[in-house]
């Protein structure tokens, strides 16, 4: 990882492709956590239906 690599952005030293991969991980996590939250809310509503 040479410091003079023009593809890298400092101070992180990441390339665009690397930052994209990091961001992909974040997107995937958001989707998984979102899906989990939806399922948890459906089950919680079945157990204690609010606004009823």
């Amino acid at each position: 990882m040479a410091d003079n690599d023009p593809n890298r952005v400092w101070p992180s030293g990441l390339t665009t492709r690397e930052a994209e991969e990091l961001h992909d991980g974040l997107k995937q996590g958001t989707r998984i956590f979102g899906a989990i939250a939806v399922i948890a809310h459906i089950l919680a509503f079945m157990n204690t239906p609010w606004l009823h």
Binding site: E18, A19, E20, M46
Partner: protein, 468 residues
């Protein structure tokens, strides 16, 4: 890519490396503090397994009045994920990444699955409990939710453990591996014991709200412990993980792995050895209560005795193997300790000697500690550099599946034999409740003998002393 994504990508790129979870360099030898931090993933695995097999098992049957057969199905669901550990390990070995990571993405995915399972679990359990479906909606949603919760948690913990152990193997030199194995086992035990005590205390006054707090609290702890464990641990190596490189398929990789000297025999030894030390898992406490008349408090001390034996086993094995001892000699010694241990436990019934029973239990823990430490150290030592994930995945798949199968078999044999002995099938002298238990312990002795026999060719020959 939309504008928000572009903005976020540039934000990641502009962050200082201090805030990014990469290790700067792969150090030749890992300081103990970093190793201790890495081993925290084992605490989260221990916590989740105690919650599934111990705490929730009881809560579902006693407090939530879920039918016992359905509870058994739920608890066995995580085991379905166990055979896939080899595949998970292989995937992490051959992962393509611009960042140069192989292990962290899988540990993170495993953590999310474990978190997800634990996050929906309390609500699912409450819906399927007696009177828990207050909305009156279709109950299959509750069953599906509960099944999904157990499956996700199981898949998560198997992924985290497999890839976590592979990362630990990557990070340390071969000489340090026994120390790491010892530490990993001790932390698993610490996680299990501490969680069992904390869950027990928190759920003493059971309410629905408390169940939600405890299970979701453990979900948050999973995330916290695992992030702490993997933060700045794996060094980046973009050359090893560059996209578009040629990698073998799982079949090719597996074929070359089992062609390695003694690979199949090692897995057989792990499987039978684990079965031999697992069949009594859920039988020791009822044996103490039913056959020896011990109180609930005494049977709880039994768990502590077993754990203490295991702990001493791990410590001794770490010490001996750290000085260059042979892991399979250590495992054989563990199996050898197990044979008198189970014999003592069997003898405790006719002699009505709880002290003997406690001694036997301690020795079972000690023997199991030596055997598991030895087999895991051997797996790490023999893992080819490019197949560490696969090797540890295969070890984990065999070990977890064998343990699950053994626990189920132990219970089934005990029930069938005790049913038959109650009908005097074996004659008057074998009509007590001890018969079923004794038969299970005898089967374990036989399995230990088979384990010893299977390990003999794996033991390193000691150098012959040259006589003048």
């Amino acid at each position: 890519m939309n504008r928000l994504s572009k903005k976020l990508v540039s934000t990641w790129a502009e962050q200082g490396p201090r805030f990014l979870p990469f290790a700067d360099v792969a150090t030749a030898d890992l300081p103990l503090s970093r190793l201790l931090r890495l081993s925290l993933f084992q605490v989260s695995v221990g916590m989740a397994s105690v919650l599934l097999v111990g705490t929730l098992n009881r809560v579902m049957i006693v407090e939530l009045r879920v039918p016992a057969s359905l509870v058994a199905v739920m608890i066995s669901l995580p085991l379905l994920a166990a055979p896939f550990r080899a595949m998970i390990g292989f995937k992490s070995d051959t992962h393509s990444s611009a960042l140069g990571w192989r292990r962290v993405p899988y540990i993170w995915k495993g953590t999310m699955l474990q978190f997800g399972g634990l996050a929906i679990m309390p609500f699912a359990l409450l819906v399927v409990s007696e009177g828990g479906n207050r909305l009156g909606g279709p109950i299959w949603i509750g069953w599906l939710g509960a099944g999904l919760a157990f499956l996700l948690t199981g898949a998560g913990l198997h992924t985290v453990q497999t890839v976590g152990l592979a990362l630990a193997t990557d990070l340390v030199s071969e000489e340090s591996q026994p120390r790491v194995v010892g530490l990993m086992y001790v932390m698993l035990l610490v996680g299990m014991i501490a969680s069992a005590i904390i869950f027990g205390a928190l759920l003493q006054n059971f309410t629905d709200g408390r169940l939600i707090q405890v299970v979701q609290g453990s979900a948050v702890m999973t995330i916290a412990l695992n992030i702490l464990a993997i933060w700045k641990q794996e060094a980046r190596d973009p050359v090893k993980t560059r996209e578009g490189r040629e990698e073998p398929s799982f079949k090719e990789s597996w074929d070359s792995f089992i062609e390695g000297a003694g690979a199949i025999r090692r897995l057989i030894a792990v499987g039978i050895g684990t079965m031999a030390f697992s069949m009594q898992d859920v039988l020791l406490e009822p044996y103490g209560g039913q056959v020896l008349g011990l109180s609930v408090a005494s049977t709880t001390r039994l768990t502590a005795t077993l754990s203490l034996g295991g702990l001493l086993g791990f410590l001794l094995a770490s010490r001996v193997l750290g000085r260059g001892g042979d892991p399979f000699r250590m495992s054989s010694f563990g199996a050898l300790v197990g044979i008198p241990a189970f014999s003592i436990v069997i003898l405790a019934a006719p002699l009505q000697a709880p002290v003997l029973f406690f001694c036997g239990t301690f020795l079972i823990g000690f023997g199991a500690g030596l055997l598991s430490h030895g087999t895991l150290t051997a797996t790490m030592n023999h893992a080819p550099e490019k197949q560490r994930g696969l090797a540890l995945g295969a070890w984990g798949a065999v070990q977890a599946s064998a343990a699950g199968l053994a626990v189920a078999l132990g219970g089934i044999i005990r029930d069938i034999v005790n049913g038959m002995s109650a009908r005097d099938v074996f004659g008057r002298s074998f009509s007590g409740p001890a018969t079923g238990y004794s038969l299970v312990y005898s089967v374990e002795i036989v399995l230990l003998i088979i384990t010893l026999w299977s390990m003999i060719p794996l033991i390193r020959r000691l150098p012959q002393r040259v006589t003048a």
